[in-house]
């Protein structure tokens, strides 16, 4: 988590240094980004009570296909895109009434979202953006365990949503650098327990991403 924060803080401070230039793209684009993902400590609930799963930060990547709306567009300056993302979250610690124990296994999340992004564009080389998206996520628990004892596994598809903010840096007329933050959440997925039954977990993650977007 600390590592993720440092990355995001660094990226946030980067665009304070940005200068101004010009030119913008209108039309279709493709993009790809990579970054760090941190799934926040999750409250998990079953019929016996609440317990906590804590995760280590790990990687995420995503690919986008979208349309860039330039200046003068009647619906405003921004983008609409279809985004596929993959997030990996290794289990770090599991806490019960008796205490916390080392965890193993991971939660992987594949999502397909439609994002709408508004851009505060001017004549400068960079422009801040703010957006949000909604769609579906397939959340898969693989080999979750606590102190070597199986905890749960399985996968489920749930509604997912995302808020995003960042900055577009115009590199050329057709190529842009995207430096951003993503707040990704999903409706409480149900995960099968190793000893029968299931638990539902809260799901919310922070991500810092860097990507390239090419217009054509």
């Amino acid at each position: 988590m600390k590592q993720t924060r440092e990355i995001i803080i660094m990226l946030s401070l980067m665009f304070l240094l940005c200068g101004t230039a010009a030119a913008e793209h209108t039309g279709p684009y493709i993009g790809a980004s990579i970054g760090a993902n941190a799934l926040v400590k999750a409250k998990c609930t079953d019929d016996q009570g609440d317990f906590r799963l804590a995760f280590d930060p790990d990687m995420q990547w995503s690919a986008q296909l979208g349309w860039d709306y330039g200046q003068g567009n009647p619906i405003g300056v921004g983008r609409i895109e279809l985004e596929y993302s993959f997030r990996n979250s290794p289990l770090d610690k599991v806490s019960f009434v008796e205490g916390g124990y080392a965890g193993a296994g991971k939660i992987t999340t594949e999502s397909l979202l439609i994002n709408c992004i508004g851009i505060a564009r001017d004549a400068g080389i960079w422009a801040p953006y703010l957006g949000g998206g909604a769609g579906a996520a397939r959340i898969k628990a693989s080999g979750l365990s606590s102190a070597g004892n199986p905890l749960g596994s399985g996968s489920t598809v749930v509604f997912a949503y995302q808020g995003e903010a960042g900055v577009d840096v115009r590199l050329t007329d057709w190529l842009s650098l995207d430096v951003g933050y993503r707040l990704f959440g999903a409706l409480r997925p149900h995960i099968d327990e190793a000893n029968g039954g299931s638990f539902e977990m809260e799901y919310l993650s922070h991500s810092a991403v860097v990507g390239l977007r090419a217009g054509f």
Partner: protein, 567 residues
């Protein structure tokens, strides 16, 4: 600037880091690897019991009490057995001998050998001894038994408990609560424990209920500067009863420069801010926050600021405060809060009455003096010229009241003209009377003087006598049916300001009448708006703090409500 805001916004998004609450679920994902049985003693006397505890070890990671999750069994149920299903692990020795007791769970088991002796009881000791408890409190008694083999055993579960005065205190013999005493009424009871004809006893004295908590009301009120607010203290006692202890507690304000509080719980707001009001009794305290709004006093204005009064006559005098809250100015009546004084007490006197009502009386003739109203470092003066001319004429206004309806009122004003040409409103100085008090009455006390109330259909003559002269006016009370009630006075007020609302009644014959004084006014949230002075300023409200509240007017069978927003 937008770059800076954008950066800060992103950083703030990092604030949420997940759930840090306390887990409530036990860890049953780790397999149970062994069980052990713990006991106070390996030997007990026949007809006594002891509690066995099964401790489960989970793969060496942790252990916990699993007494209620194992299956208990005895290899010799005739010697010792688990005869109390409600209490897992409690084993009773039935006859002398020995028995192997086992606890089994998840395919694992542990055993414990219990020896049951034939020793007999020699004495019992109850604890606590000679306890004193307030009504409503509870106590767990325990008893230790000494046996013929010199062993000592906890027999709390095995004895028969008794209370000599069950109306004073009860003691339980139920399996799950043996020896648990509940005090019921003031008095003394003997609590006894009997085992095999051996009895031990101790006294339990039940005293007056003991204060447990104090709750103040209202909770977190807002009041205006230079007004007062009353707090009450409710004490919850050990017997479960809540009592009004307002006059018993010690009241305290955390910031006496903002608000003071008197021994009867009346808080006086001095300056804008917040203070904590506390009430303490017998070491127990209750607190609430008091918010003082409405700005700080900057000036006082007297109305009228110049009087000419005839000797021995009175006139109403009013002090209005100007308040500043930041850049917002407001004003309201503070007659009740100022201290009145006169430069020459032989010439004039000010007599405060209830609420925002004060009377100035001229005591001498042909002399002038000043009247001063003071609050803190602020003061204002008014000039009084006292005179004693000869009365020439009296005039009543209006000359007649012909539209009065039963249940409503209206006012006459009496003006005296003296031979030197001066005039004075002497309504409050005249002696008023009605010729038909079953039809209409007229007030003859303080601010009520000259106010005519219609009681029944008919006519009456109202007389006003002053200075040896009398004038009269006719009053006609008519029968009308109330059709409608309308409140007027605005919908938006600046905090700290006083605003007058009026209530107008419309009748079946098309006439309408101001019934503000007959209307019962109420407000649903006194932290937003308060009534200025229901006796002397009916319909007038003062805005206390930002928000919205409803002002309700009730007259006859009509009720009207208007929503007021305070800025």
């Amino acid at each position: 600037m937008i770059k800076l805001i954008w950066s800060i916004g992103i950083l703030l998004l990092l604030s949420g880091c997940g759930w840090d609450g306390a887990p409530t679920r036990i860890n049953d994902f780790v397999p149970l690897t062994s069980i052990k049985i713990e006991a106070v003693s390996g030997a007990i006397a026949a007809h006594t019991s002891t509690k066995l505890t099964a401790i489960g070890d989970y793969s060496g990671l942790f252990s916990r009490d699993i007494s209620d999750r194992v299956v208990w069994a005895s290899n010799s149920p005739a010697t010792a057995d688990f005869v109390t299903p409600l209490l897992p692990g409690r084993v009773t020795g039935l006859v002398p001998g020995s028995a192997v007791l086992t606890a089994t769970a998840e395919g694992l088991s542990a055993s414990f050998e219990l020896s049951v002796s034939s020793s007999t009881i020699t004495s019992l000791t109850i604890t606590p001894v000679d306890q004193s408890l307030a009504v409503g409190l509870t106590s767990q008694f325990a008893v230790a038994g000494v046996f013929s083999d010199a062993t000592v055993q906890d027999l709390t579960f095995d004895v028969t408990w008794d209370s000599s005065a069950t109306s004073v205190a009860s003691v339980s013999n139920a399996a799950a609560s043996k020896g648990f005493a509940q005090t019921l009424a003031i008095g003394t009871s003997t609590i006894s424990a009997t085992f095999d004809d051996v009895t031990a006893a101790t006294s339990l004295t039940v005293t007056e209920p003991k204060l447990q908590t104090i709750t103040l009301s209202p909770q977190a009120p807002s009041i205006l500067t230079l007004t007062t607010g009353s707090f009450t203290a409710a004490g919850r006692y050990s017997d479960g009863v809540t009592r009004d202890i307002t006059s018993q507690v010690t009241w305290k304000s955390s910031k006496t420069d903002i608000a003071t509080i008197s021994a009867d719980g009346t808080a006086t707001a001095l300056t804008q801010g917040s203070a904590t009001i506390s009430a303490t009794l017998d070491g127990i305290s209750g607190t609430t926050n008091l918010t003082v709004t409405g700005g700080n006093l900057t000036a006082i204005t007297l109305s009228p600021y110049s009087f000419t009064l005839v000797k021995d006559s009175v006139s109403r005098i009013t002090a209005t405060g100007s308040f500043l809250n930041g850049s917002i100015l407001s004003s309201r009546d503070i007659t009740e809060m100022v201290t009145w004084s006169t430069a020459n007490s032989a010439v004039a006197a000010v007599t405060p009455s209830d609420g925002n009502l004060a009377w100035l009386k001229a005591l001498a003739a042909t002399t002038s003096t000043t009247i001063t109203a003071t609050y803190g470092s602020k003061s204002a003066t008014a000039a009084l010229s006292a005179t004693a001319p000869q009365l020439a004429t009296l005039t009543l206004y209006p000359t007649a009241l012909e539209q009065l309806t039963a249940g409503t009122s209206s006012r006459f004003r009496l003006t005296a003209t003296f031979i030197n040409g001066i005039t004075q409103d002497v309504t409050a100085n005249a002696d008023w009377s009605s010729s038909a008090v079953s039809t209409a009455t007229v007030g003859n006390v303080e601010r009520g003087k000259g106010r005519v109330s219609g009681l029944a259909v008919g006519s009456a003559t109202i007389s006003a006598e002053y200075g040896g002269k009398t004038v009269t006016a006719a009053v006609t009370v008519k029968q009308r049916t109330l059709q409608n009630l309308v409140i007027s006075g605005g919908t938006s007020i600046v905090a700290g300001n006083q605003v007058a609302f009026t209530a107008t009644a419309t009748y079946s014959d098309g006439t309408s009448m101001d019934v503000t004084e007959e209307t019962v006014w109420s407000i649903d949230d006194s932290n937003v708006i308060m009534l200025a002075d229901s006796q002397n300023q009916p319909g007038q409200v003062v805005a206390v703090d930002g928000g919205s509240a409803e002002v309700t007017a009730s007259f006859g069978n009509k009720t009207e409500t208007t929503k007021i927003t305070v800025h």
